[in-house]
């Protein structure tokens, strides 16, 4: 699944408009320091959207450091690379980051740590109709969802409970194995309510005028008074790499921050890069999905408060989903 962003894609993207980045004004001391190649593993999907600006920089060689960004189809590929030390930075689902951290830490300390939240929630409640405006409106209804036995279930049930609904009695959640099934139900059944992740949600809404996004669960999470955020993607770094190349890591995070800003500010331009990176096939869909994916860059002080509460929700639902126990202090790496 190696998919380095192609030079061709870069050319078309640069033609599309002037880059919002100023060429990095390197200080003399930085010029002397050798450039480090940061090997970054990303997953083909929403969590990589925020990285497309950085990927373009990497291809053009205009980043603060050299980045070798590769997108993979499955975490199965990323985990071995991470533990073998063949990638330095990886963008993983939040709970998997905690699991990998837990499983690889030894008495000498952690091997993998979280440095940033890169994507907030990607789940939305969709409705074929106009009756639902908040989670409490779901009382007495049937909600179709995917993600049984995984984060989507735990998140949805947590939010329903916070809204005063007991799943199973006040509201029926029917889990389907395939997002396509939920999409088809929504499209075909007036009054149907379903929970879908991006980019399915965008796809259904785009294709069916009667289906609309009723609730953005990321928003609902915050609105229900959770101090944490609903998190999907976390950026992790190998502790050894962070210790060896603190500057390179800091530079990567800085470039990532700019990249996230670029994606959120210029979704039209970013959409083309998203298509070029092979994450989404059509630019219009990509453009519509970008805001819904809540691409962010939360580091330092913001990291732990955003992430820990979310992980504790998962932990309460299924301890194993975060590696058996809540990750401790050494999970969060604050690189100032």
């Amino acid at each position: 699944g190696t998919a380095p962003s192609s030079p061709g894609a870069l050319a078309s993207a640069t033609e599309a408009g002037p880059t919002p980045f100023a060429a990095p004004s390197a200080t003399p001391s930085e010029q002397v320091a050798e450039r480090v190649t940061v090997r970054v593993a990303a997953l083909s999907g929403p969590t990589t959207i925020g990285l497309v600006g950085l990927m373009r920089e990497a291809d053009a060689g205009t980043g603060r450091q050299d980045y070798e960004v590769t997108t993979y189809g499955t975490p199965d590929e990323v985990v071995p690379l991470l533990v073998k030390g063949e990638v330095d930075v990886a963008l993983l689902p939040a709970n998997l980051a905690a699991v990998v951290h837990q499983q690889t830490r030894t008495d000498d300390g952690p091997a993998v740590q979280a440095v940033a939240v890169n994507t907030l929630g990607v789940l939305s409640v969709l409705e074929h109709g106009t009756a639902v405006a908040s989670l409490s409106d779901l009382r007495g209804r049937t909600v179709y969802s995917t993600g049984k036995g995984a984060s989507p279930q735990y998140v949805l049930e947590h939010l329903l409970r916070q809204s005063g609904l007991t799943p199973g009695t006040d509201v029926t959640v029917e889990y389907r194995s395939e997002a396509t099934e939920v999409a088809a139900l929504l499209a075909a059944t007036p009054g149907a309510v379903g929970v879908l992740p991006q980019p399915y949600a965008t796809g259904v809404v785009a294709g069916h005028a009667d289906v609309r996004v009723a609730i953005d669960l990321t928003q609902a999470w915050t609105d229900l008074g959770n101090t944490s955020r609903l998190v999907t993607g976390v950026t992790v770094v190998r502790t050894a790499f962070a210790a060896e190349h603190p500057q390179a890591l800091a530079d990567f995070l800085a470039d990532d921050e700019e990249s996230v800003a670029f994606v959120n500010d210029s979704p039209a331009q970013a959409a083309e890069l998203v298509v070029a990176a092979g994450i989404v096939q059509a630019a219009p869909v990509a453009q519509a999905a970008i805001p819904a994916c809540h691409v962010v860059h939360l580091t330092g002080d913001e990291l732990r408060p955003a992430l820990e509460g979310y992980l504790s929700v998962l932990h309460a639902a299924q301890p194993k989903s975060v590696g058996g126990a809540m990750p401790g202090d050494d999970f969060y790496l604050d690189v100032g």
Binding site: V79, P80, V83, K84, L96, V99, V100, Q103, T104, K148, G149, A150, Y175, R176, S177, E178, T180, E181, A184, K320, S321, G323
Partner: protein, 286 residues
């Protein structure tokens, strides 16, 4: 001087030896145990060498997990649930495959009609049709349906090939004597097709398990092996994953043994064979 045969009698798959063969010094059973032992050692060495328990745990850890798992009632309930689904799917596939292959052999039209269907079933990735399957069944029967769909083309193809390679001379004989078809099936067709069917069953049972579990990993019906493996995978609980894999392999091997024993029994009954089989100096040709 007595060793006129040199290399001993031709031997057959069942380990029976011809009259001319030396009696095997080590029994099959001992060899099987030693072989499994060898692989366990290889596994242990590999896991120690890799030293990444997230990716590869050793047999000892797996055994520890198994010892924890096996005595629980939940374990047996889970095993029973998945076993029932897979066996049902395979059995249905075997029956349907034999019926369809017989129909295809009897009529060119049926053959022509089935050919594209089987070719499609054989090659279509599960991702492509899983949604259609879920239309007609719910996720809790997904394993049965998928196991059925995987085993069907294997068994169909083998049975059809077996039918094509029946003894043409004996078929002519039954035609001349106008032997009623049920007798012909018992005397000529079944013995000719059986080895192909056996090969198909060996493969088909493995595939039924493999794909049945894969379907459970997709559909996550409660209390199934697939659900356990999905969880283990999702949470990188590698020891659990391997423990359940061992369980699946053992169950598949047991299912295979039972099915083959039943087939052997059916064969014997058809042949009206005496309980201890005659020693067969021609060897091999069962």
């Amino acid at each position: 001087m007595l060793d006129v045969g040199g290399t001993g009698g031709v031997r057959d798959r069942t380990g029976r030896t011809g009259v001319g063969a030396r009696p095997p010094r080590l029994t099959r059973r001992v060899r099987a145990v030693v072989a499994v032992g060898c692989w366990l050692v290889v596994w242990q060495v590999a896991s120690v060498a890799l030293d990444q328990p997230i990716l590869l745990v050793g047999p000892w850890e797996v055994l520890v997990r198994l010892v924890e798992l096996v005595p629980t009632g939940a374990f047996w309930a889970t095993v029973g649930r998945t076993l029932a689904d897979v066996v049902l799917g395979f059995t249905a596939a075997a029956l349907v495959a034999v019926a369809l292959a017989a129909a295809a052999a009897a009529s060119r039209w049926v053959d022509a009609l089935l050919a594209p269907l089987i070719a499609t079933t054989r090659a279509t990735p599960v991702v492509a049709f899983i949604i259609l399957v879920l239309l007609w069944t719910d996720a809790s029967h997904l394993a049965t349906v998928v196991a059925f769909l995987m085993a069907l083309p294997v068994l169909y193809t083998n049975v059809l090939e077996g039918i094509a390679h029946r003894d043409a001379r004996l078929l002519e004989m039954t035609r001349v004597f106008a032997v009623p078809w049920p007798r012909r099936v018992a005397a000529v067709d079944v013995p000719g097709v059986l080895p192909y069917f056996v090969a198909g069953c060996r493969t088909g049972i493995g595939l039924a398990w493999k794909s049945g579990i894969a379907a459970e990993v997709i559909g996550l019906p409660v209390g199934t092996i697939g659900e356990q493996m999905y969880q283990a995978k999702l949470f990188l609980a590698t020891a659990d994953l391997f423990a359940w894999t061992v369980v699946v392999v053992v169950l598949a091997a047991l299912t295979e043994r039972v099915v083959l024993a039943l087939l052997e029994r059916a064969r014997r009954r058809l042949a009206g064979e005496p309980a201890p089989p005659l020693v067969d100096p021609a060897g091999g040709a069962r």
